[in-house]
Subunit: 141 residues, 2 copies
DNA sequence: CAGTATCCCTCATGATACTG
DNA sequence: CAGTATCATGAGGGATACTG
């Protein structure tokens, strides 16, 4: 019998690919910014620092868990700073770093493409969903 | 009693936000391109059309299911075309449309930022993971 | 105020098997 | 060759309750 099934082969290929992707800079960035809450947080902080509660209100539907998790991830990546003021009650401010700010133009370019072309995409979707009927002669009953 | 609990309030806010996000062009685009296989497919097709089997080989770890699903989604969005040649055996070619091609520069800008700054991000991560020890005087035993 | 801890549940992904 | 169909799983995300 074969020492290696097709399934095993594929699994190996997947492993190698995953390893490659894990170290791919573009992949890492995409994984970060494509997170729903990340983009919203970056946007909210674009105009200046905000407190935890502010973010919680501005980003309407976010749960505490996801907000905290998102902020921690961004802090870890050096995209924002977390400043604790040990008053009573405690106050915590979040602010974009230079690195975080440098990301905003990238987000803007994404937004720009989207706003210019999303209509074409939506039209394409509608056409596609209407079925391939357009390229077929109407089938008779 | 309150006609609306805090939980209900939050749920409503979430609903409204979700609805907003669902129609936000930038969000839609991010959701598309951030998909692991989508970016790989777009990249693979950047240099010209390829057959299903080619894509399956080039994008090493992809399963048939995910490849087909990805290609269908991109076709639906008008980002690529699917051309069936009814020979025996059948032959199917995938090719980026003008719309799909116009997306490549956006991907490039993402890649560019990542390659320029990912090192800073990784340094930040290492520092963060080392603990906040750097900003605290070494705690004595 | 700004979190942490816990449970729960859905949905996306992948492996496998079958087909025109 | 180029898919479709079906099933299993596991990670992500939300609701809820508790705390310094």
């Amino acid at each position: 019998m074969a020492t290696r099934t097709a399934a095993q082969r594929r699994a190996d290929e997947r492993g190698a690919y995953d390893a490659y992707l894990a170290t791919c800079p573009a992949r890492q960035l995409l994984d970060r910014i494509s997170d729903k809450w990340v983009s919203l947080v970056l946007n909210a902080l674009a105009d200046g620092p905000l407190r935890y509660g502010d973010l919680n209100r501005i980003i309407a539907g976010v749960s505490q868990k996801m907000l905290t998790q998102t902020l921690r991830a961004l802090e870890r990546d050096g995209l924002l700073t977390r400043t604790v003021t040990p008053s009573v009650p405690v106050r915590v401010d979040y602010q974009l770093t230079a690195l975080g700010l440098s990301l905003l133009p990238v987000m803007a370019s994404i937004k720009s493409w989207a706003e210019c072309h999303i209509e074409q995409v939506q039209t394409a979707r509608t056409d596609y969903d209407r079925g391939t009927a357009t390229e077929l002669p109407a089938p008779g009953p």
